[in-house]
């Protein structure tokens, strides 16, 4: 979708806040949000439905909310969408049907859980790949209305395939909780192709792109 999240190449944001955020957390609520998100309190969520949920936020909020503020809003939406919370419960701040408390975990439990969370997103797929390393490809000019991972700045552009990763979970389907694989490539674009002839001719921008985002050049 042509959402507000697609920030690559947009102008007018001013300097990067280079000195901000050297501490892991600035506020206690950020700490709580991090723990809630990492523990996976929304079992029906996938990595792409989480991202798509952020993209569907009210655009003005997306641009003005901080990172964890967006997460909090998105998690509330996801919990309601998946039927775990009601909007009334959120308004009241309490559950209408409390359950047995969850078992507490220790830091050692969490460190082990982090290692176990090393997720492999490759998908078994015996369909032949369409593009070869070294081949020039063109990206699509149009994208679908739902979640997709072809940024606006890299559409309808010529690039070179520099790596093929086999088939990976396709985010356009993963956002809707459907587990489908598609060949994934790393494609390199010259800065001049994306931004014009004023760009340094040595510079490149490289993206991972799924096969259906690409057509032969």
């Amino acid at each position: 979708m042509d959402g507000i999240h697609d920030l690559g190449g947009k102008e007018g944001f001013g300097p990067v806040p280079v000195t901000a955020g050297d501490a892991p957390f600035s506020h206690d609520w950020e700490r709580r949000m991090w723990g809630l998100a990492r523990e996976g309190i929304c079992p029906s969520m996938t990595i792409d439905s989480f991202r798509h949920g952020l993209e569907l936020m009210v655009p003005g909020d997306y641009l003005t909310f901080s990172y964890f503020q967006k997460w909090a809003t998105n998690y509330l939406m996801l919990m309601v969408d998946s039927g775990q919370f009601t909007l009334e419960e959120i308004g009241q701040g309490h559950a209408s049907d409390p359950s047995t408390p969850a078992k507490a975990k220790t830091t050692a439990d969490i460190i082990a859980q982090v290692r176990a969370a090393c997720t492999d997103f490759s998908v078994a797929d015996d369909t032949p790949s369409r593009f070869a390393i070294g081949e020039t490809v063109r990206t699509l000019r149009q994208i679908p209305h739902h979640h997709t991972r072809l940024p606006a700045y890299a559409r309808n552009a010529l690039g070179e395939v520099i790596a093929h990763h086999g088939s990976h979970l396709f985010p356009d389907e993963g956002a809707h909780n459907r587990h489908v694989g598609q060949h994934l490539y790393t494609v390199s674009f010259t800065a001049a192709e994306l931004w014009g002839d004023d760009a340094n001719p040595r510079d490149t921008v490289t993206l991972e792109l799924w096969e259906s985002y690409l057509v032969p050049a």
Partner: protein, 213 residues
Amino acid sequence: MSTFDSDHAAKIHRHIHSHLPSDPALRVKALESLAVEKGLIAPETIDAWVEAYSEHIGPMRGARVVARAWTDPEFRARLLSDATAAITEFGFEGNATGHLKAVENTADSHNMVVCTLCSCYPFSILGMSPAWYKSAAYRARAVREPRAVLAEFGVELPEDVAVRVWDSTAELRYLVVPQRPAGTEGWDEDRLAALVTRNSMIGTDRDLSTGAA
């Protein structure tokens, strides 16, 4: 598993926008209270996640990996060919590093990592991402004017050094391997790791200083 409907999700977002206070502390409090009362998480588990990512999982992990690559040519080769496997030698695999690629700076090239569509980051080796990495300004500008962004970080890159910007659009994450500073011959891994800054592993720092070590 239920499917996720974009229109339904957008409608809930609009309701939340119109009816709930925007104060994030209140929103997170509601989220935690309901999740705890419904038995989805214990409050102590949240504390444990914060402790894990404040004290144990952070950029010191990536720095250790870089220092090993500088001192052990065989490890460097393994890291550059398959970083996902190489970091398991340290037990550093985990959140968002199921597919990891190490990209090495050279005298005539510089690597820089961004996620323009969200804020993807290799958590299990670099810890929490810095606020600037998640800012709209960095996400917007890193792909379009990386040299100007680097200058804001104090990195003046000569014209003849090529910049390669990696936009993390899939589940592949990147670790930049900075150049080993001159004058560190014979240093051990601990001493070298102390030189490696978090920003140098994202690509917004380049020439590491030996002054502080």
